[in-house]
């Protein structure tokens, strides 16, 4: 299995070669021989099945699997939308695009994020160590990366959230600290790294981005 990194901001995903892999022109994308696949959830499930990963990642027990699928479904609009938006409003829009974000927009986005985090603690974790039960699963990986996105904007979402913090520690231990840190290096360095970005990279999509987020 080969990992190919490409840079989204300079527009590498609009190149001809990438277009053959993923018509949607988004990352991540997978190519397995002549089989092409987009959407991270689908890719993760496909890899878990193909490489026969330990059962807990995507359990074969129908009800446990349904519990994982339930989170993987909810999270698109339930948390991803909000955590991404907070990152864009705190980092990309003001720091890269030089556009000021009105306070009421920021407050509304933060309120949505807070509601989502509350639901994750109350419903998806409840009194369980991980989302699907006693063991880590794909649901926890998908959850942690979304929650880390606003952390990359300088917002410590774990502060004051004991249950969420304890869960994060368990997920980190389950994945392994080294891998967790490697995966999050770019996002945690975002506030510094964006200063090095050429602000014109987002110029072409400026009105679309502002219309979407604000």
């Amino acid at each position: 299995m080969k990992l190919r990194c490409l840079c989204v901001l300079p527009g590498e995903h609009f190149g001809e070669e990438f277009g053959k892999i993923n018509l949607m022109r988004k990352v991540p994308a997978l190519r397995d021989g002549d089989f092409y696949l987009a959407e991270s959830i689908a890719i993760m499930i496909y890899l878990a099945e193909k490489f026969e990963t330990p059962d807990f990642w995507y359990p074969t027990d129908i009800r446990q699997r349904a519990r994982v699928n339930e989170y993987l479904s909810w999270q698109h609009q339930g948390i991803r939308t909000h955590s991404s938006k907070v990152f864009w409003l705190r980092v990309m829009i003001p720091m890269v695009m030089g556009v000021e974000v009105p306070k009421e927009k920021m407050d509304a986005a933060l309120e949505d994020l807070n509601s989502s985090l509350k639901l994750i603690e109350e419903k998806f974790l409840d009194d369980r160590p991980f989302i699907a039960g006693d063991q880590v699963s794909l649901a926890d990986i998908v959850a942690i990366v979304e929650i880390m996105q606003p952390v990359g904007s300088g917002l410590d979402v774990f502060q004051g959230r004991l249950k969420l913090s304890a869960w994060r520690d368990r997920v980190q231990a389950a994945i392994g600290k080294e891998l967790f840190d490697e995966a999050h290096q770019a996002i945690l360095g975002a506030q510094e790294n964006v200063k090095l970005l050429d602000p014109t990279v987002l110029q072409a999509s400026k009105s679309k981005i502002l219309r979407y987020f604000m």
């Binding site: 018509l23 949607m24 089989f35 696949l37 987009a38 959407e39 991270s40 959830i41 689908a42 890719i43 499930i45 496909y46 099945e49 193909k50 129908i62 009800r63 699997r65 349904a66 519990r67 699928n69 339930e70 993987l72 479904s73 909810w74 698109h76 609009q77 939308t81 639901l119 109350e122 419903k123 219309r211």
Partner: protein, 237 residues
């Protein structure tokens, strides 16, 4: 695998994801009991319902004490747990991945954009007693057009159904979202003959379950008369 007692489902057929679950249950003849939840009457906010689903949304499945939310998880659970034709959710990994790919993409594309048009054109004006926000509606229609173009050029490219040669749960989720604006008198598939042909294929594949599911929602009067329907699209999963 067949279970003992009928599966219980909590549905409001005015909700798109609820219709998808209803169609799968009825056309595959999975033993089930429908508990109608009238969102417009706030039946999703009762202590009893909230106890079952903290998020106060429909659909909800209860199978011998096992409670499950999220329509795509419910559809996949039903297709796996019960003895239904395999095409609904194929076991072959690459075919299954195609369904998982669509059901993931669906949330922020088909669902988000079709529902937005309906909210802006029908629900918000009715609830607020105001005129339609034309700028927002045009924006929403533009996003929806992009989605419809992608459905045709990406998912239906060289195949009769979204994920291959046969109907899957992905087609049910999509069709129910695309039917919602139709129920309010807007034919969003008017300029999309390829999608119209796909719709006909889906209707043929599911038979009378399709009409039964859409009988409630396909009358503009029914939808227009209920102010509380504002909450429908945001209250179903």
């Amino acid at each position: 695998m067949a279970a003992g007692r009928p599966v219980q489902v909590y549905l409001d057929l005015l909700s798109q994801p609820c219709r998808a679950v209803y169609i799968l249950l009825t056309c595959t003849k999975i033993p089930h009991k429908v508990h109608a939840v009238a969102l417009r009457k706030g039946e999703h906010r009762t202590p009893e319902f909230t106890n079952m689903n903290l998020m106060q949304k429909v659909p909800v499945l209860v199978d011998s004490g096992f409670i499950l939310t999220e329509s795509d998880a419910i559809l996949k659970y039903l297709a796996t747990q019960y003895d239904v034709p395999e095409h609904w959710y194929p076991r072959q990994p690459q075919q299954r991945a195609r369904v998982d790919e669509y059901t993931a993409w669906h949330h922020t594309n088909t669902r988000a954009h079709a529902a937005k048009v309906f909210i802006l054109e029908v629900l918000l004006p009715r609830h607020m007693g105001s005129a339609v926000d034309k700028v927002a509606l045009n924006n929403a229609l533009s996003n929806l057009k992009n989605t419809l173009d992608k459905l045709e050029t990406m998912f239906l490219r060289r195949q009769p159904f979204l994920c291959g040669d046969d109907i899957t749960v992905a087609d049910l989720l999509a069709i129910c979202e695309l039917m919602q604006p139709l129920g309010a008198g807007r034919d969003i598939l008017k300029d999309h003959p390829q999608l119209q042909r796909w719709r006909s294929r889906v209707q043929s594949a599911v038979g009378k379950s399709f009409d039964e599911a859409h009988a409630v929602s396909s009358g503009p009067c029914e939808l227009h008369q209920n102010r509380d329907l504002l909450w429908h699209s945001s209250l179903s999963n």
